[in-house]
């Protein structure tokens, strides 16, 4: 199950993030403070939820912010969504760490580079601005059946591939794929309805 008492919200303030991204691109150290103040807690919470070790989480969050700092020139301030990009990097670092620790080293640098490329995090603001994601996502997850909740949990917090989920849950791969697609469909629909409302 997802954790109870979920109170985090994505603070995706488009205009502020645009200014912040430009300052980061100008290599202003003060901008890094602002970036951390805006997303540090959320990034730490995401990483800690995955790795479940505070010291490791600190290292990975530091690595996340360094990666953003080093790759910010590829970010488009007017179109990019800084928060989702940073949080994707944070989660990827965490999942990668967990999988490395368990010797499931099947991800490569190329794949992570593609998955974290800033171009995948553009034009999100119009969809997510002023949207209370924490409330919506909690509500949406409640609408998933137990199997769907389970695969989303295994996916988000453990980064298990669908084949690994099939082995873990003792289900055919096709069934797992169906559950994953259905679960993501429900979440996407709920989020879409909230944005459209």
């Amino acid at each position: 199950m997802f954790f109870p008492g979920l109170i985090l919200a994505l603070e995706l303030s488009g205009q502020h993030d645009e200014d912040l991204a430009r300052r980061l691109q100008r290599r202003e150290p003060e901008a890094m403070k602002d970036l951390y103040d805006r997303y540090g807690k959320l990034a730490y919470s995401v990483v800690l939820a995955v790795v479940r070790d505070a010291a490791t989480a600190e290292d990975l969050v530091q690595e996340t912010f360094l990666r953003v700092w080093n790759r910010i020139q590829a970010f488009e301030p007017g179109r990019g969504a800084l928060g989702p990009w940073l949080l994707a990097i944070a989660r990827n670092r965490a999942i990668d760490h967990v999988r490395s620790s368990s010797s499931k080293m099947d991800r490569n640098a190329f794949e992570l580079d593609v998955r974290e490329h800033p171009s995948l995090f553009v034009d999100m603001q119009h969809e997510v601005e002023n949207t209370d994601y924490a409330r919506i996502i909690r509500s949406a997850i409640k609408k998933l059946n137990p199997n769907q909740q389970k695969v989303i949990e295994l996916a988000y917090y453990e980064g298990l591939s669908q084949t690994e989920m099939a082995e873990r849950l003792g289900q055919p791969l096709g069934t797992i794929k169906t559950w994953v697609r259905a679960a993501l469909g429900v979440l996407r629909e709920e989020l879409g309805q909230a944005v459209a409302a």
């Binding site: 990668d96 999100m124 997850i141």
Partner: protein, 233 residues
């Protein structure tokens, strides 16, 4: 695979849980800027990003903010932009020195030839298209490590001070098993900061990370101190 065949897997890919061959196929479509797959994955990324809103809130320790901010406060204005220039300059100096051996003694020429060989090794690793390039930063040191199948180039600044009877030692960390020693080196003081460009030539097979420790002079077969650099590949 076609975009149509892949569209059902955009969500799984965005979450990082897609299986082969869809996983590689979508990555390949994105790498060649396929419009349909890029749009589909972007949309799926919104859902994935939103999931962070369902995570339990935890306050990071205050020191984490200091760690992160200190990484960039110490950054030289131009970062590592000096590196190609420095390598070129060093190479040029070595070439000029060798070209006019009458002005140098044999020892100096041999040293420069060693430097040149080292530079060639470094350039070979840096030019390897399969090399993995990872930056690292920590209160103790920051820099970059490039790892090809045949070697490692480590560029590090702000190295800790060590005694004359100590050395830095590079380690290759496999996914499981013991660290593999990859040679020792010392730093040089540049602009009041101890820095080093170290080249290790040897197989890096199975290396999942590199690390650097402070060891007794001559190095150790196993790390005897906590690494001050650990860079995952």
């Amino acid at each position: 695979m076609t975009c149509e065949e892949l569209r059902g897997d955009y969500g799984a890919w965005a979450l990082g849980i897609a299986d082969e061959p869809e996983r590689s196929e979508i990555a390949a479509h994105l790498a060649r800027e396929c419009p349909a797959c890029t749009a589909g994955v972007r949309s799926a990324m919104v859902t994935t990003a939103a999931m962070s809103g369902a995570v339990a809130e935890n306050n990071p320790p205050k020191r984490l903010r200091r760690r992160i901010v200190s990484m960039v406060e110490r950054e030289p204005k131009r970062g590592f932009a000096w590196l190609p220039w420095a390598i070129s300059a060093a190479l040029a100096i070595a070439l000029v020195s060798i070209a006019i051996p009458g002005r140098r003694d044999t020892q100096a020429i041999l040293a420069q030839q060693r430097d040149m060989a080292k530079l060639n090794q470094a350039l070979s690793i840096l030019n390897d298209p399969t090399a993995r390039d990872v930056t690292f930063g920590d209160p103790a040191a920051r820099g970059r490590v490039v790892v090809s199948p045949s070697g490692v180039v480590l560029i590090a600044a702000h190295l800790p001070k060590i005694q004359d009877n100590q050395t830095f030692e590079l380690w290759l960390l496999p996914g499981s098993g013991d660290p593999k020693p990859a040679g020792t080196f010392r730093g040089e003081t540049i602009s009041n900061s101890s820095s080093a460009v170290y080249v290790y030539q040897g197989s890096t097979a199975n290396a999942a990370a590199v690390a650097v420790t402070v060891e007794p002079e001559g190095g150790s077969p196993h790390p005897t101190t906590t690494p001050f650099i650990v860079s995952k590949l």
